[in-house]
Symmetry: C2
Subunit: 125 residues, 2 copies
């Protein structure tokens, strides 16, 4: 089983890497066959090529992420709430998702699901 | 698809019912065949009888729950962070989970998963 401290560290590294616009560091967190469902209900991106394209598009929106509260680690999964400020079509927006990461034995993310809906999207900061 | 407002209302009703120690109201939120995995990684409770026994035991610990931040509704699911203060073996404790509810077309919870680990359990308030 992946180590709880390792899973929590992966969450912090995910936020750091996105804030630094470090696409390679983001990708390094994911297993080669990982799936990313962001938001939940959308067609999952599968594998590094699709996941890289997704985060490249996201990073073009000048993301600033901040953790909200504790990272919750249970079994092989981690859940965490955060805010992400971004620029979309010239407007400053803030989205407040809860992400769930599932890890494999090697400590890589095999599944990422991002929970948010229209009620979690606002303008301004 | 269940209505987003209905799913968000179910989360608030869940917290209200637990704070009121209203076991019937808690059970009314769940489909007859629902599963409850609390915490994630433990054997799921399945069906109303097992779920009722689980919440009856929980309520004996004099729970006080408070939402932390927004409810995130996406597709047929809702995720939310909260704190739960309780009395366990004479000691006041606080646990900070993130729960994920999945709903059926009728708006009943068919799956509940509670994410928390040792790092989310503290003493005091």
């Amino acid at each position: 089983m992946p180590d709880p401290a390792q899973m929590e560290a992966a969450v912090h590294e995910y936020l750091r890497a996105l804030n630094a616009a470090d696409l390679d560091a983001v990708l390094a967190l994911f297993d080669a066959d990982a799936s990313v469902e962001d938001p939940v209900g959308s067609p999952p991106k599968r594998g590094h090529a699709e996941i890289r394209a997704f985060y490249a598009a996201s990073l073009s929106m000048k993301l600033t992420l901040a953790l909200e509260g504790q990272v919750r680690v249970a079994d092989k999964e981690a859940a965490f709430a955060f805010s992400v400020s971004l620029q979309h079509e010239g407007q400053q927006m803030v989205i407040r998702p809860i992400d769930v990461f599932r890890f494999n034995e090697a400590g890589k993310v095999v599944s990422m699901r991002a929970f948010f809906g229209p009620a979690n999207i606002g303008t301004g900061s």
